[in-house]
């Protein structure tokens, strides 16, 4: 439903904020748009939504080209800009009414749609209060309500959970999840747990270029920690165990951390597999056979933050 075709944005002769980005997002898909600060996430979103004109390339939403038919394209998009700007002197009710008028929602269905957006974003308690007196969480939700008001097929949200407390984050993620089957959604974030929680797919960009693209699982599989095993044993056997693990054919490396703050007698090992293969069954059998008491034993899926770091800085650790 969203087609991004070779987008480029230059500011002046020297700054290339977005450097040839292409991807598609289909219905029912939630795309997490990741990247370090200044990577070009917001700039890309501003081009998708028609706030900035691309230097090259274009965007199509349900076949509508933002450069050829900006109004028609904007009608299909709900957009939450970074920081959720809203007119501070208006109340949420006046503000949503204004959005409904501008979006030419027929008068008959305005009340109903506003009520629905208010219910979904849990705004009812602050509807008559000027927006500039609202807390950050409520302001963000006003922005969300504005974006989903016309039930758009495409939702673009720039850091929708930034600055929210854990409960609010949870609520927003649930909202996005609930709407996902009907829509194509792009959210930018630098909170990696969010990607795992709500995204079907993640794109990592850096210096305006795509450096990774795949499902969260596929990205995590690129991690050094993919299929690594965490195992915690009594410290008294730590030395023997370390040597034994290192001698195993499928173990590439062993890291050992003593756990000082807890019962001083525990040691945790991280066992890295050779070639990313599955290791946990073998380790389980191995320790059982020796009669070691294991306090913890689990396999890691991989760490998104590690992949993130490695693709955006070239650092592999």
């Amino acid at each position: 439903m969203i087609e991004i075709l070779n987008l480029v944005k230059r500011f002046g002769p020297t700054i290339t904020a977005v450097d040839g980005i292409s991807f598609h997002v289909g219905k029912g898909e939630v795309l997490g748009f990741l990247g370090p600060n200044g990577a070009g996430k917001s700039t890309t979103m501003k081009m998708i939504t028609g706030f900035l004109a691309p230097t090259a390339g274009t965007v199509r939403v349900l076949g509508c080209d933002i450069r050829e038919d900006p109004i028609g394209t904007k009608e299909k998009i709900g957009y939450l800009p970074e920081g959720a700007p809203a007119y501070p002197d208006m109340t949420p009710r006046e503000f949503l009414q204004f959005i409904a008028d501008v979006r030419r929602i027929p008068h008959g269905s305005q009340t109903e749609l506003i009520a629905l957006a208010v219910r979904r974003t849990e705004l009812a308690s602050v509807m008559e209060q000027p927006i500039d007196t609202l807390s950050k969480g409520f302001k963000r939700r006003v922005g969300l309500a504005q974006a989903i008001l016309h039930d758009p097929p495409v939702l673009i949200m720039d850091e929708p959970t930034d600055g929210l407390d854990p409960n609010q984050k949870h609520a927003v993620r649930n909202l996005i999840r609930r709407m996902a089957p009907e829509k194509a959604i792009i959210i930018s974030t630098h909170i990696l747990e969010e990607v795992d929680a709500i995204c079907d797919r993640a794109i990592i960009i850096d210096h305006g270029k795509i450096v990774a693209d795949g499902t969260p699982d596929a990205l995590m599989a690129r991690s050094h920690h993919h299929n690594a095993v965490q195992i915690t044993l009594d410290s008294e056997i730590a030395k023997i165990a370390e040597e034994a693990f290192l001698a195993m054919p499928h173990v590439a490396d062993v890291a050992r951390h003593d756990l000082p703050d807890r019962t001083a007698s525990l040691t945790r090992f991280t066992l890295y597999p050779k070639d990313g293969q599955r290791l946990v069954d073998e380790i389980g059998a191995f320790t059982r056979a020796r009669g070691w008491s294991t306090h913890e034993l689990y396999a890691e899926l991989g760490r998104l933050d590690e992949v993130f770091r490695s693709v955006t800085t070239g650092d592999t650790q």
Binding site: K46, A53, Y87, P88
Partner: protein, 244 residues
Amino acid sequence: MNRMLAVFRREFMGYFSTPLAYIFIVIFLFLTGVTTFYVGGFFEAGQAHLQVFFLFHPWLYLFLIPAIAMRLWADERKSGTIELLLTLPVPLWAAVLGKYLAAWAFTGVALLLTFPVWLTVNYLGDPDNGVILAGYIGSLLMAGAYLAIGACISATTRNQVIAFVVTVVVCFLFTVSGLPIVLDFFSAWTPQTVLATIASFSFLTHFDAITDGVIDLRDVVFFASLIAVWLFANGIVIEMKKAG
């Protein structure tokens, strides 16, 4: 059309939801009062017309209109709401016109609230109300021209103070360009036709013509085309910022 109306309504109501609007109206009424009755010697003149009342309008507008216009776009840029506005399905002309007309309507309200002056002059004497109406129309047109300049300049910056200062300077040039002191300065070294062109851009010349009671089409066209040109430039400025 209803999109422009939605923008207009929001902007217009916005004036009245802050104290700014009331402060502006009070200052405007106070200054028109002071200039008319004290500086202009309205009572001493003992004449039943509002010539002195209108006489000072260009000079009041010179500072008061930029104060209204400065926030039009600069404030939207500063608060980030411009990103919201320009990503809503609103054609650029509708956004530019809606905001501008709201500001103009607001100055219209302020101007209407000077009606006690009109009542006074009708109570004291028997003025030509046709001439007074012409004066009001001329004043409103001139305010519209100042506003269009201010709106365009406001679109170039996110800083309202800069918008204010630059607008005052540009408006000042448009105001005084017909005064002898300016024309004398140019007359020494510019050809007559250029001189006439400079003079023809003066708000004062066109405004005085209207307040004399004759609404000449040329004066109306002057203000209308000036407004159109500056609003068009306003649109271009926003398009250019979009291109980055």
